[in-house]
Symmetry: C2
Subunit: 166 residues, 2 copies
DNA sequence: CCTTGACTTCAACCTAACTTGAAGTTTTAG
DNA sequence: CTAAAACTTCAAGTTAGGTTGAAGTCAAGG
């Protein structure tokens, strides 16, 4: 007589994870999670999906895209619960990533202080207004973030604060 | 006999600032910069626009949205070159902002370490997968960044790394 | 004067990560 | 059995910060 149902409906998973049902469907579409179906075609999530969703949200907070999270999940064991070793490995990578972000911000701060000293803010000369020291010609594409972290060449990270004014 | 032309064409401004002409037009549309027009309707930017563009790019690196930059620019003197005092004031605000971002990242890191210790990653219980400790019900809207900085209530910042794979 | 390169506007597209809504189906409580 | 709540799919919209392209106009050199 298990009190825990073997599977969860979207609504239940949503309620327990704090993630909107629409987002869960979106994750499924992107193959980050999967569900069985009832005869009536409704989703039933195995319970370990809860942990998987937690992983996704945590990874997002560290700054990973869903694409990257997808790959990270692929590196974790498919069906068994991740061991402490698995988790340690992942967390080391995440910590490094966070450290890189912090380092970048601190560099930016130093530049900012420097620019106050020199009172500059002149283009090309000023370190602050120049992403890396090379200007222009990012290549094409949307370039929708001001500073490309791009490939992990230099590792300057762009920080975007969302939801301007409610 | 001034060697410096009084105004710049878009092409010139683009070349000297490293910002694409299309972006400059976009900034103009958003009223971050302005241009006079020739009789033939072509843009001619006053030279101080160079500095203004530098300011915009620098502010973006600090993580301000164009909306916020617009307000910051409104706080700066309209037509005179900003004094060192102006610049110091701005830079202090920016530094604080960067510091907040760093603090947030460090908190995230601590949580990450903590989660390794406890091996958890359980929803709601795990600090890492929960943005602030309150879950769900962000309100409506696109919510396209996982963690809302929202109004400056708590100040948790979402870091987004762009341009997944070139 | 004429060609070429630089410029103009405007609309449509791009990314990421979702949300919203319409129209219809399933489950479940009573 | 029925009504309501919960679910289904699918298309279209949202945000920010631009880019791309078409179709046409301006400016400068020869």
């Amino acid at each position: 007589m298990s009190k825990l149902p073997a599977t969860l409906t979207v609504g239940e998973l949503s309620a327990r994870s704090g993630v909107a049902a629409s987002a869960l469907r979106f994750y499924e579409e992107r193959r980050l999670i999967a569900a069985e179906r009832t005869t009536g075609n409704q989703r039933r999530y195995p319970r370990h999906t809860l942990r998987r969703v937690a992983f996704i949200r945590a990874a997002q907070r560290v700054g990973l895209s869903l694409e990257e999270i997808s790959q990270a999940l692929a590196n974790l064991p498919e069906n068994r619960t991740p061991t402490k070793a698995d988790w340690t490995r992942v967390s080391r990578a995440w910590t490094e990533r966070i450290d890189r972000q912090i380092a970048d911000l601190e560099q930016l701060k130093r530049k900012l202080t420097g620019c106050v000293g020199c009172g500059c803010l002149s283009l090309r000369t000023c370190a602050l207004s120049n992403p890396d020291d090379e200007q222009g010609a990012y290549g094409s594409g949307p370039a929708w973030l001001p500073t490309p972290e791009g490939d992990r060449r230099t590792g300057l990270v762009a920080v975007a604060a969302g939801r301007a004014a409610g």
